[in-house]
Symmetry: C2
Subunit: 248 residues, 2 copies
């Protein structure tokens, strides 16, 4: 955790109970005490530098110098065939760090629909991983998350929140027409669909093409789904020129 993320109420209160997991992280992992400083952020909002002002048996309290400029969200959305839960955990955390706006998992024809019943999707575990990934990246911007019962449902849901001018690609090592970076070069936004471990069905490929998604590849090497999601996200951001536009 590089930045401590709070909801608006917690941020307004300027304190956390000492037994909160974030308070414990500040005190025990970061080893910060009275007068010490740490990065703080409001989920979906501003970031700032906090200074611990008081510390007692019940609360840790701080003051904050807020940075007025809001962080920019990055213009990409991920659709991904529902993988086994352990793979989904890595994807949730890592693509959140990479600044994805939304992650849409969907049950695939060749995948196991039982994956959708995992405890990961209940009790906030998935959301906690998104927060962890954002916190790793010093970001307050937490991606939206949905689990759909089919690719069609995912495509329709993503289309409703579309940017209007996005480039749509799906990773397909077998039937790709173009390299991923060439497909999204200088695009203003990208929707990236990654298939399940066992690959796309013919019906799914047809659906994607019908909705304007273009098959793209990252060379001839078959990657694990979680590796492909990170690799594709980074390539898309680079090729769109996002890192040049958002200069440090």
């Amino acid at each position: 955790m590089n930045i401590v993320l709070l909801n608006m109420e917690e941020a307004a209160s300027g304190r956390l109970p000492v037994d909160d997991h974030r308070a414990k992280h500040i005190l025990e992992v970061l080893g910060i005490t009275l007068g010490g400083r740490f990065y703080i952020g409001v989920i979906g909002g501003k970031r700032g530098l906090a200074t611990i002002q008081a510390l007692d048996e019940k609360y840790i309290s701080w003051s904050v110098e807020w940075v007025e400029e809001m962080q920019k969200s990055l213009p990409w959305v991920l659709l991904v065939g529902l993988p086994r839960p352990q793979t989904a955990r890595k994807i949730l955390q890592d693509v959140s760090s990479l600044g994805v706006q939304g992650i849409h998992f969907f049950v695939t024809e060749k995948g196991d629909p039982a994956y959708a019943q995992s405890s990961l999707w209940r009790d906030g575990e998935a959301e906690a991983l998104l927060l962890k990934g954002a916190g790793q990246a010093f970001s307050t911007l937490v991606p939206s998350l949905a689990v759909h019962s089919s690719l069609t449902e995912a495509i329709v849901a993503v289309g409703k929140n579309a940017y209007g001018q996005e480039t749509k690609v799906f990773l397909d090592i077998y039937e790709a027409e173009v390299a991923l970076d060439a497909a999204v070069r200088e695009a203003s936004a990208a929707l990236v669909a990654v298939g399940p471990e066992r690959g796309w069905s013919e019906k799914e490929r047809g659906l994607l093409r019908q909705h304007g998604y273009v098959g793209a590849h990252m060379g001839e090497r078959v990657l694990r789904v979680e590796t492909a999601c990170v690799a594709a996200g980074a390539v898309v951001l680079a090729a769109m020129g996002v890192w040049k536009r958002h200069q440090l």
Copy 2:
């Protein structure tokens, strides 16, 4: 395992003991029996399609249709600050899948030198992960591996096997001069240095610059080391135009 990797002797014999872990994978995980086919490769050599010709209590035997054309190795090398073993395991497997030619870990000033004593670096565990990553990617090309006691040692070792015209970059979110993709655009080969979890020391930055490495960034988001290695590898391959040259 998408391709079963063998050494030259094993490949020449055309068989494996049934209790070998690859034989078990073929029979139990892939569920292939007499007459069934699977992809096979010689480590560092050719690939082919094998057909099981005999199966008894001791051996699984096959014939192979070899593909004469050798796979091309990808022109990048990774230097990475020695992380905790669990992180190193992910890096070994994933960047092997991404076709790196060599991985050079090195003990860093801000890192823990005890990481070099992990069992990971003995008894072939690291090498097994490299094989696993290559096998995932349908590749017979297994990266070289070295663990150095310092950054200087790593830079010297990498320099000895250099391509002659490589572009050298180090990831540095704080003092980067250029976006990673811009730094390696159309380069013929790239050496990519990734810092340890706690970042570069000033001395390490100086050493890198002295040896011609340019600071590069992937935006303003701080990534986990294993995420950064995958993201950087993919971006470098895309920006160098490797995926266009090696068209499917």
